[in-house]
Symmetry: C2
Subunit: 489 residues, 2 copies
C-alpha cells in the first residue's frame, strides 16, 4: 500500500486520495506528463472501490492538476511555467515517473527499482550508470547471429524441440571445460543450465530453503537476490563488507544468533561494491560452512571480468563436502538478453534443483544453448572476454579519473579490480532519493544505494556502472553527476 | 526414498541394498547396460553412508551382475544370453533405465515421468507417442531462422539486452490482436510473456497460492500442473471428466467441502483426455467462480488446434470480474523449444504475477520474442497453424483407424476434435506400468495414464500423441502397441 488512507477519518476516502496525489504533484514527485495508474488498478492496489479513484482523479482534473486523454489515461498536467520547455531535453517522465514516486514515498522496492533502472537505460538524453550491463556498443551480435545460423543448419529441428531440464549436453560439456580453466571443479553432470543467474538464485531459494529460514548475505548485496529471498519469505541477515569482503568475526556471531540455512555471497567483484573477498576469508568461510553445516550460494556472475591481479580460488574449489552451489551467467560476459546462466551443484542438491527447474519452466531454450555452445567451442567466448577486459579496464579508469575531477572532494569510492560497477559514498551525507531525481533532471542516472541493503538502510551511497558506455559518455555522465551534487550543496 | 532399508534388521544395510538391486536386475527392471546412480548420489538419496553403497555395488560386481567402468560408472552386466544381441535394435537402456525402475517400484513421479517421456522421444528404434509434441517433421525451422536474422539485422543489439519482465511490446501487441481474433479479450498491458505455459502455471502457483491451499483440477490433468502444485505444497482435489469435461454437480460439492482457492482447468481439448468442456458448463463454471470468489486458471495451450466444429467461448471471454487467468503457449502451435508462452490477467493479479516473473528469471529472451513477433505480424503463424490443423486431423484419423484395426476389440478411446492427444482405456484392465515396459521392448512408447491423476490413481489408461509422427509411423506404432497388448493377454 503506497497511500495511507484512514477509513475512520471524517474526510471521504476519495478526498484523502486526491490530497495525497495533489501533494505528490506539487512536490514534483509525480512530475508533469506522468501517467497515473489506471483507476481499476489503483483501486485494486489500495483496496478501495473504483469509484473512489475515479472521483479523486475527477477532483484533480477540476483543479487543473491532471488531464484525461481518451484511451490513453490520466496524466499530470504541465504547469504554465514548464509548458514552454516541454519536449526539450527533459526525459519523458511517462515511463518511470510513477515508479520513482514509489521510491520517494519511502517504499523502496527492489522490484520497482529494477524496473526503474531498466526504463532509465532506454531514456533518450539520459546517461544511465544504473544497470550492471556490458558494453552496449560492443555486444557481439553478429557473431552470435552466425552461431545461431550454424546451429539451425546443422542441428535442424533438434534446437527447436523439447529437451531435458538440465540443459544441452554440448553446452554443459563446453562449460565444464571453460570452468576447469578457471579451476572451478564442475563435471558435466554437475552443471545445470538456467534462465540467467537470477533463475539459479530463485531455484536455490525455492528448492533448498523454506519460508522462515534465514540467509546471511553481504550488506549491501545484489538486488535480485534480496528480491528472490524476500519473495519466498526468507529472512535476511546482512553483514557489512570492508575492503576484504564480508566481515569476520561478525559472521560467526550472526551464525550463532540466527542459525541460518545458507550464506549467499558474491566473493569476487562483489555487487554493488566491487570488493573481493580475501583468500584467508575464503578459507575461513568454507571452514564455517563445514562447522555449522551451512549451504553456500556462490554468485560468480562477474568472475571472468578481471582487469588486474591474480584470480583467487573460488569457494566451490575450496569446498570438499558439497556445501557450495556455484552460480554463473553469460549476461555480463556475453549477452544479457540471452537469459542463459548456469549453476554447479552436486549429488542430491543438484537433483532437487533440477526438479525445481523442470517444475518452473521445463528447460531453457536449446536453440540459445546450442548457439552458445558453438560460440564457446570455437574459442570465441574466451577471446571476446579477453577483449572486453581491456575495454572495461579503460572505462573504469576513465570513470575513476572523471570522479576525481568532477565529484566533490570528500566523496569516496571503491576501486574494483574487475566486474562492472563501483560504489560511491558521499560525504557529507546527502539524501540519495532526492539526489536520484535531481540527477535524472541533469541527464544522468545511477543505482540508488539503499536498494542494495537487505534491511533497507538508507545511507549516502550509490552504485555506478562503468562498462556500458564509451569513455566519452562515461566522462560526460560523471560530469553531470558532479554538477548535480554541486547544485544540491 | 526408492529403496526401503530396515535399520533395525540384523542384515547389514549394504547387503539389504545389494539384495534389493539384485532383485531389480533379475526382474529386468534394471535392464542390462543400465547405469546405476553414482555411489555418492545414491548414498545421499537413501540417507546412508557412501561406503554402504560402495560395498553393495562391490557385492553385485563379485556376483557378476554389474561391471564398473573407470570414469563412467557402474553398469548392469549383459547376461551371456543377451550379450550377442547387444547393440542391435534394442534401445540403449542407459538413458532411461533407472527412472523407469522408479516407476515400477511404485513411486510414479510426475517429474521423473516427464524425464522419461523426453528420453524416450529421442531413442532410436522407438516410436514414442508419449510427448505432447507438434509434428517433428514439419517444424518451421527455416522460417524461424529467417525471422531471427531479420530481427538481429533490424533491431541490432536491442534483442540481446536486458528488457522489462512483462515482455517485448511488439510481441504483446501481436498477441493482443491474435487473441482478439479468437475472441479472447486481452489488452496489450494484460499480456505477460512467460518461458512456456509451464512457467505461467508456476507463476500463478507461486504468486497467487499459498502452501496448504487447495486447487481443484480435472482428474486426470496435465502432468506439469500436478508437479507445480505439489512442489508448492498445494492440495489437489480432482474431479472426474466425462464427454463434456469436468463433472457437475460434483464440482460444487467439492468446492463446499475443500474451499479451494483456484480451479485449474483445460476446457478445450483437455490434456490428457482430449474432451472439450461444453458451453453450458463453461457458463456454470464462471458462475461458480463468481459465487465462491474463486480464481480460475484456464490452460488454453491447444485452443487453436481445432480440426472440426466451432470454437467455444473461452472462460476468459465469459469472465466479467477478473477471476480468470488465461495461459497460452507457442509450444504446440509453433516450436516447443522456444520456451515462449504467455498469460493474460488483469489488475493487481497481473501485477503480482509480473513481480514473480521478475523474481524468477527477470524476463524471457527478447531475441526469441521479437522473432516470434515478426513471424506473427507477417501472418505466418496463422498460416502455419492452418496448415498444421489439416495435417493433425489426418494423423488423428490415421491413429483412430489403426486403433480400430490393431487394438483389442474392447479397448475404448476418446475422439478429440482438436489438440494433440487422445486417451485410451483398456478393457479388461491391464497393469499399465508393466505394459509400459513391455511396449518399450516392442519399440513403442506412450504416456502412462496413472501419472495424470493428481491422487496417483492407477487404472487402465494411457495417452497417445497423434501429431508428432508421419501417418505411416503412427500406423506402425499402433501396430506395435496392438502386438504388445496381445503378448500380454
Amino acid at each position: 500500500m503506497y497511500v495511507s488512507l484512514d477509513r475512520a477519518a471524517p474526510v471521504p476516502l476519495y478526498l484523502q486520495l486526491k490530497d495525497h496525489l495533489r501533494r505528490k504533484i506539487e512536490e514534483g514527485i509525480l512530475p508533469p506528463a506522468t501517467r497515473l495508474p489506471p483507476t481499476r488498478e489503483l483501486a485494486a492496489e489500495l483496496g478501495v472501490n473504483r469509484i473512489t479513484v475515479v472521483n479523486a482523479y475527477a477532483e484533480l482534473e477540476a483543479e487543473g492538476l491532471v488531464t484525461g486523454q481518451v484511451g490513453r489515461g490520466t496524466f499530470v498536467s504541465l504547469p504554465a511555467s514548464l509548458a514552454d520547455q516541454a519536449g526539450k531535453s527533459h526525459p519523458p517522465a511517462d515511463r518511470y515517473g510513477w515508479q520513482t514516486a514509489f521510491l520517494v514515498a519511502g517504499k523502496v522496492s527492489a522490484n520497482l527499482m529494477m524496473r526503474d533502472m531498466l526504463s532509465l537505460a532506454n531514456q533518450p538524453g539520459i546517461i544511465s550508470f544504473a544497470m550492471g550491463s556490458p558494453a552496449a556498443d560492443l555486444l557481439p551480435a553478429q557473431d552470435f547471429r552466425q552461431a545461431l545460423n550454424v546451429v539451425l543448419r546443422r542441428e535442424g529441428t533438434r534446437a527447436l524441440q523439447y529437451d531435458l531440464p538440465e540443459g544441452c549436453g554440448e553446452l554443459r560439456t563446453a562449460l565444464s571445460a571453460y570452468l576447469a580453466k578457471q579451476a572451478v571443479p564442475a563435471a558435466e553432470d554437475e552443471i545445470m543450465i538456467t534462465s540467467g543467474s537470477q533463475q539459479a538464485i530463485h531455484l536455490v531459494t525455492e528448492a533448498l530453503l523454506r519460508p522462515g529460514d534465514t540467509v546471511i548475505t553481504e550488506s549491501p548485496t545484489y538486488l535480485g537476490a534480496i528480491d528472490a529471498f524476500q519473495a519466498h519469505g526468507i529472512h535476511i541477515a546482512g553483514i557489512p563488507v570492508d575492503g576484504e569482503g564480508l566481515q569476520f568475526p561478525l559472521l560467526e556471531r550472526l551464525i550463532r544468533q540466527h542459525r541460518p540455512r545458507m550464506i549467499y555471497t558474491i566473493p569476487t567483484f562483489h555487487n554493488p561494491t566491487g570488493v573481493t573477498l580475501s583468500v584467508e576469508r575464503r578459507h575461513a568461510l568454507i571452514d564455517l560452512a563445514r562447522k555449522h553445516d551451512l549451504l553456500i550460494l556462490e554468485d560468480a556472475t562477474c568472475n571472468e571480468l578481471r582487469y588486474e591481479g591474480r584470480a583467487l580460488p573460488t569457494l566451490r574449489s575450496l569446498d570438499k563436502d558439497g556445501h557450495v552451489v556455484y552460480a554463473g551467467s553469460f549476461s555480463k560476459t556475453f549477452l544479457p538478453g540471452l537469459r542463459v546462466g548456469y549453476l554447479v551443484a552436486s549429488g542430491h542438491i543438484f537433483r532437487r534443483l533440477l526438479s525445481a527447474k523442470q517444475t518452473d519452466d521445463l528447460h531453457t531454450s536449446p536453440l540459445l544453448q546450442l548457439a552458445l555452445a558453438h560460440y564457446m567451442a570455437n574459442g570465441q567466448l574466451a577471446q571476446h572476454i579477453q577483449r572486453m577486459c581491456a575495454v572495461y579496464r579503460e572505462r573504469r579508469d576513465v570513470m575513476l579519473e572523471a570522479m576525481a575531477r568532477f565529484l566533490p572532494a570528500r566523496t569516496r569510492w571503491t576501486i574494483p579490480h574487475g566486474g562492472l560497477c563501483l560504489w560511491v559514498t558521499l560525504d557529507p551525507p546527502v539524501p540519495t532519493t532526492h539526489l536520484y531525481l535531481k540527477a535524472i533532471e541533469h541527464g544522468v542516472a545511477f543505482a540508488l544505494g539503499s536498494v542494495f541493503y537487505p534491511a533497507g538502510q538508507s545511507g549516502s551511497h550509490f552504485r555506478l556502472n562503468f562498462s556500458a558506455h564509451s569513455p566519452e559518455t562515461v566522462r560526460e555522465g560523471v560530469r553531470r553527476l558532479g554538477k548535480t551534487l554541486k547544485s544540491m550543496a
